[in-house]
């Protein structure tokens, strides 16, 4: 970022809007469509793309559940089953939960902190294109019938060349390295945006908790994701160039994969969960009409989960034969990590009983989230107890637990967010009655699908089996689970219908349909290209409740609002106390992030297919893309 000294705010209100419109509007047309750097357009693309993958992952799960509905069925056969459960996990973690939660972050973090865009708009655009390209890359594996088939944690040596010589696993390794570029860039962007672009007056103790959740997520991604990228590179070296990182006979170690994978993989669970916690903390106060209880404790809780989450990975490996002393430390950390989560749960409960809840769809989904997440949480604590974990590890008990945690803390909050913030995005209200129908179908369907799986695990059903014997008596529970899964799917479908219906038929939302407490409600619905007519000065944690001039429309320069109409700029403030420091010049639309992504997509396919000439050509093209992107054009900021 290049910056100039901050001038005093100056403008007259009438011409302000026209001038902002002239500066910030992106012209229609293909160039603008491919080159947009507007965080709202990009955020919405993340959201739609992630939801499309949610539907794909959901269809995969329904096929899985159909195969398992009764004993000894042969609906899809073992190979298809293995590919589907692997892609279901990969899709839901990497292509649904992370993009949708990042999408909400992209859309709402700048709005909530009073900025006009993310700190690095072109990096933001690049992150989206890479997500789309890597999703396309991973799913193209289905076209050749060779989707990844060794599970989302892809253990060696099964995933090694000796046991899976076909390109299934190359799709996995190349795809996740590729996708990691998107997540890492996005995370850095969140961190800088949140630390540097907050509205004047938004000192650290006034940052909305949703924003804290995105920050905690971003910090985890930056520190956890390198382990996944590294281990995927090692796997490719083993597979393609006969290295021996994981080959026990040649002095390698298969456990190296497990350690590196779970050093990423356990934080990944929190990466998906923490923004969901943030969504709950953001929605509850609006719908109970009372500020959140225990703000400081919740924030400390979010950040502690992010930190302690790095010390628990070995509880995925309690059965691999490590010494008990090692297991003991990890067990302790795994018990401890429950405390910051429990602090947040009880802060939500306190806020709920102190306020007067309005049980409309957003809050219903949050209440459902709390109930489901707490069940996932208590079974999570059980896994910290070493002997119990060794008993149920890799059984359906784990499948039940992880769905309670992940569907609880990602899917339900995302649906709460759809109903709460959807009107901000589209400008129209969703139908509350359909929302409630959707909630109850999802809530009942979810519990019917996953609660019986706890019992199946205790009875001895391992996860990832494509069938089971009729003598075992597992058929009834599996049938219940399958019925629940279809019910859940219908519930999700109702919300999808509701969303598209609301776009044409919903009642107009106005700026602030719920009288929310944070700054996104200060913007119009949908927000203008420039987000706010004036960048507000905030004086409290709930600016929309504290400052009547914000609720009335535009904070005038006399009240501290800054129009900043002179150029494509936003305001940068100091990290802790949010004092204005500089005017940041934001880059304009550019097709280079898109072109660079195309080069990287070619690179990914070239590596996949061992086409080394094309690999070199694509590498050169990628470097060319970066050169084009950063070529000096007399503008001030290129990122």
């Amino acid at each position: 970022m290049t910056t100039t000294a901050a001038p005093e705010a100056s403008a007259t209100t009438i011409s302000t809007v026209e001038r902002l419109e002239a500066v910030w509007a992106e012209p229609p047309g293909l160039g603008s469509w491919l080159g947009t750097v507007d965080h709202k357009r990009i955020g919405l693309r993340y959201f739609y793309t992630g939801m499309a993958f949610f539907v794909a992952g959901g269809i995969e799960s329904l096929l899985i559940r159909t195969q398992l509905a009764g004993p000894d069925l042969d609906v899809i056969g073992p190979e298809a089953f293995n590919q589907l459960f692997s892609m279901h996990g990969i899709t839901m973690m990497f292509l649904f939960a992370m993009p949708v939660l990042s999408g909400f972050g992209n859309y709402f973090v700048p709005l909530m902190i009073g900025a006009r865009d993310m700190a690095f708009p072109r990096l933001n655009a690049f992150g989206y294109w890479v997500l789309l390209a890597s999703g396309f890359f991973l799913y193209s594996s289905f076209l050749v019938g060779r989707a990844p088939n060794a599970g989302w944690f892809n253990y060696v040596p099964l995933s090694g060349e000796a046991f899976t010589p076909a390109i299934n696993i190359d799709y996995y390794a190349v795809g996740l390295i590729f996708l990691g570029i998107s997540s890492t860039g996005g995370a850095i962007n969140f961190i800088v945006t949140i630390l540097k672009l907050r509205a004047p007056g938004m000192i650290v103790s006034r940052i909305p908790i949703f924003v804290w959740g995105e920050l905690a997520m971003a910090l985890q991604i930056v520190f956890a994701l390198p382990a996944l990228t590294l281990v995927s590179v090692l796997l490719l070296l083993d597979r393609k160039f006969d290295f021996h990182f994981f080959d026990a006979d040649a002095g390698g170690d298969p456990l190296l994969w497990q350690h590196l994978f779970w050093v990423f993989g356990h934080p990944e669970v929190y990466i998906v969960a923490l923004p969901g916690f943030g969504i709950a903390s953001a929605i509850i106060p609006t719908w109970v009409r009372r500020p959140i209880v225990g703000y400081t404790y919740i924030v400390i809780g979010e950040l502690s989960v992010a930190l302690i989450g790095f010390g628990v990975w070995v509880h995925h490996m309690f059965a691999v034969g490590l010494p008990n002393i090692t297991l003991g430390f990890i067990s302790l950390a795994s018990f401890m990590v429950a405390i910051p989560s429990s602090i947040q749960v009880f802060a939500w409960l306190a806020t709920l009983v102190a306020g007067r809840p309005v049980l409309r769809t957003p809050l219903l989904f949050v209440l459902g989230f709390i109930f489901i997440f707490v069940i996932g949480g208590v079974t999570g604590v059980m896994f910290a107890a070493i002997p119990f974990d060794q008993g149920v590890h890799d059984s359906y008990f784990v499948v039940a637990h992880l769905h309670y945690v992940l569907v609880g803390s990602a899917v339900f909050p995302i649906f709460a967010a759809v109903y709460h913030w959807g009107p901000k995005i589209t400008g129209r209200l969703l139908d509350d009655r359909l929302g409630k129908v959707s909630f109850w179908l999802m809530f009942v369907g979810f519990n019917l699908a996953f609660f019986p799986q706890h019992l199946l695990g205790l009875f001895g059903m391992p996860r990832r089996v494509y069938t089971y014997d009729s003598d075992l008596g597992w058929g009834g529970y599996n049938m219940a689970s399958t019925i629940g899964a279809f019910m859940l799917a219908v519930g999700i479908l109702v919300t999808i219908v509701n969303w598209f219906r609301s776009r044409t038929r919903g009642a107009p939302a106005g700026n602030d349909p719920w009288r929310g407490e944070t700054l996104e409600w200060y913007a119009s619905s949908p927000p203008a290209h420039y987000n706010f007519v004036t960048i507000p000065t905030v004086h409290g944690r709930e600016p929309m409740w504290d400052q009547p001039e914000l609720a009335e429309g535009v904070q005038s320069p006399e009240d501290g609002g800054r129009p900043l109409t002179d150029g494509h700029v936003t305001l940068s403030t100091s990290m802790l106390d949010a004092r204005p420091q500089a005017i940041v010049h934001m880059p304009h639309a550019s097709v280079w992030p898109f072109l660079l992504t195309v080069a990287l997509l070619v690179l990914a396919f070239a590596v996949l297919l061992d086409n080394w000439a094309l690999t070199i050509a694509a590498l050169v093209a990628s470097v060319g893309g970066l050169v084009g992107w950063y070529w000096p054009r007399g503008q001030t900021q290129e990122t």
Partner: protein, 312 residues
């Protein structure tokens, strides 16, 4: 796991019930709060167009922070510390102190188990053990990672290339205990079953002695034919029948095949008919298994079956 048949399995079950009741209490408390909140509900947000009429309660919640610290951190912290200590105590009690256990090696293969006794007996997919005696299972793997899990007897232990994992088992009652590979190991992970049969010690001694002997000589012309076909055809390339020239090591040892209850690690119950069908096309029962469809004629298959069914 809820039906323990060994001291260790009972310890784990005890731990489960403690954790279960704690969990029930936690879920009940949280649900109570959620219902209490729902009882305080009101029908709507503020009325339309009413922006300055403040329905928002800005008063701080006087008990809020204290409640979060006590209910959210202190009480759970105490419960968690207790659970941690109890789980370590259970862990510490587990395993056997017997310093001269019976050592049995259970080798994981895709997708079956090879079972080797110290006296040279080799079998597959069924482990017989003496009741009341400590059996130390050595758990190597021949290929990918598998995980040995017999819920009624023990927790599970992974079988990892290059690792030297072991698990002690003491069954306190005679009985048959089913287990199954717990770590995803490829196409037929679902069909990798193991049966542990706990029997009276003297019965076990007899059994393991017989099991170490070479295969019975065939009785009758058809079985004799069967043996010759087995030795000459590709069968012998992968399977061993001790006492014959069949010394293949890729597939299960068939020296006492007729003793076993199932075929293909639990895929089908062993009968002459199921054996003939399995030999004719194993891909039908267990798609992806290494054994190819046979090139033998139906008569030859019948002869081989007649021979194998004599191998008790």
């Amino acid at each position: 796991m809820l039906d323990p048949r060994s001291d260790d399995a009972r310890r784990v079950e005890g731990l489960w019930w403690v954790l279960f009741w704690i969990s029930c209490a936690v879920v009940a408390v949280v649900t109570g709060f959620l219902l209490a909140a729902a009882r305080r509900r009101r029908a709507e947000l503020h009325s339309e167009g009413e922006t300055d009429e403040d329905d928002i309660d800005r008063r701080p919640v006087p008990w809020g922070d204290r409640f979060v610290v006590i209910a959210g951190a202190a009480i759970p912290g105490g419960i968690l510390a207790g659970s941690f200590a109890f789980s370590l105590a259970v862990l510490n009690d587990m395993g056997s102190t017997d310093d001269r256990p019976l050592e049995v090696e259970v080798v994981g293969h895709t997708w079956w188990w090879e079972v080797r006794y110290p006296n040279g007996a080799v079998t597959a997919n069924e482990i017989r053990i003496p009741v009341g005696e400590t059996v130390r299972l050595g758990l190597p793997t021949a290929d990918v990672i598998h995980s040995f899990w017999v819920p009624e007897l023990q927790v599970k232990k992974d079988q990892i290339p290059g690792a030297d994992n072991q698990l002690s088992v003491v069954a306190d009652h005679a009985g048959r205990f089913r287990g199954q590979c717990a770590e995803f190991c490829g196409l037929q992970h679902a069909h990798m079953e193991i049966l542990v049969v706990a029997m009276a010690p003297d019965e076990f001694d007899n059994w393991v002695e017989r099991e170490a002997e070479p295969a019975a000589e065939p009785e009758g012309a058809e079985a004799e034919d069967g043996r010759q076909i087995f030795e000459r055809a590709s069968c012998a390339g992968c399977h061993t029948i001790r006492g014959t020239s069949a010394e293949g090591v890729l597939g299960p040892d068939l020296t006492h095949l007729a003793d076993r209850e199932t075929l293909g690690a639990g895929v089908v119950r062993l009968t002459p008919e199921s054996l003939a069908a399995f030999i004719t096309d194993p891909q039908d029962d267990k798609p992806g298994v290494s054994m190819p469809p046979t090139e033998l004629t139906p008569d030859q298959v019948d002869a081989v079956v007649a021979y194998l069914m004599e191998l008790e």
